[in-house]
Amino acid sequence: MKPMFSLIRRDLLIALRNKTEVLTILFFFVIVTSLFPLGIGPEPAQLRKIAPGVLWVAALLATMLGLQRMFAPDHADGTLEQMALSPTPLVLLVGGKIVSHWLVSGLPLVLMAPVLGIQFDLDAGSLGVLMLALLLGTPLLSLIGSIGAALTLGVRGGGVLLSLLVLPLFIPALIFGAGAVQAHMAGLGFGGHLSLLAAMLVLAAFFAPWATTAALRIALE
């Protein structure tokens, strides 16, 4: 486990030293969500209705931005090959990469979401549900996305291909994540949606690192 934590520490250090990457993702999230009220019109009732969907779609797209850089720099300078050769199981290191990706590009979105939710006139309860849903959903996005990132490593047109592969798999997270907030706003229980999100998170946490490891080994062959 120790190499995994040192890998997470290294990735976080790199992210801190090179802040633009984190900030670009965060600002992308802010700008995309701010475009919708400008495009659709500022009626609060309508904004409240579209808020969960808009915030979730923006979170998906912002996560996509970070995914391309998940393994690519390590692949380019040979670190990834050293990881594959190291005595630590590659699955653990992949798990570390996924955790650091979430800390760098997922967690800021969760923390930023309530501020953006206020722009859409969401009440305090809905903001809480939105944050909870994103807290369960963004790690799921990082986990699923890691498979796509590993598969498209060093492939021509990787960025566009990555979105084509990963976005369809993100749809369930989007449906239940946005659905939780909508259910809460409609006065229905949101527990079911969050439970399903959590179930998907557990399943993905178990399977995705293995699939990503297999994909990385194929890419490194």
């Binding site: 498979i147 598969l151 498209t152 492939v155 021509r156 047109g157 990787g158 291909l161 084509l164 592969l165 976005l167 369809p168 798999l169 749809i171 369930p172 449906i175 699939a211 297999a214 994909a215 194929i218 890419a219 062959e221």
Partner: protein, 249 residues
Amino acid sequence: MSYRLVNWFKLASPQKFYPVAGKMIPLFWLLAAAFGVAGLWLGFFVAPTDATQGEGYRIIFIHVPTSWMSMFIYLVMAAWAGLGLALNARLSGMMAQALAPTGALMAFLSLWTGAFWGKPMWGAWWVWDARLTSELILFFLYLGFMALQSAIDDPRRADKAGAIVVLVGVVNVPVIYFSVKWWNTLHQGASISINKAPSMAMTMLWGMLLMALCLWMYSIAVALMRVRAIMLERESHTDWVKQLAEVKA
């Protein structure tokens, strides 16, 4: 027994499979044509007009079989993909690659015929219902698989990467199948189930089953034709391909 096993594994080599596939293709075309004629005749001339939906319901003779095939072909692809990753056999990757366009076609036809049925019956070409959405995701998965395969130049790597995508996406198939049970949405329940009597006239059932068999045979025939083309392309440097009569000519 062991003798038979040896024989089956022999077919895993493209060189042995190529001529066998060539012999099987006309047979499957013939079966597809026979089942198709019988199914369409039952569907359009024999099956009674539906009491509530009128003549428009007849689109299910295409819609239901294509939906079944779109899911079934994905499962077959996943099986080939798993086999390919486990045994590292060349044929598995080729079969998965050959099946993908047909599967995508079936998913597309299922969505398209569904839209034609939905307009007169529901009054909308498209609704965001659980089954339609999950079928649309299946269509996207086929497209993603094909895009990934064509983006990777090395065929062996393309096969393995594609296999992982197919296996990851396979969770979607049970979701489509059970979506009408899990979510109470607009799309009607399953037309046929194993443990209860079918909710339709016997002739309709037969028409649908015959059309499903027709599409099944068609899919096999087309996949075999495609896999033969893939074999020629990938193995063009080998002697056995250069010795083939159709290549020499």
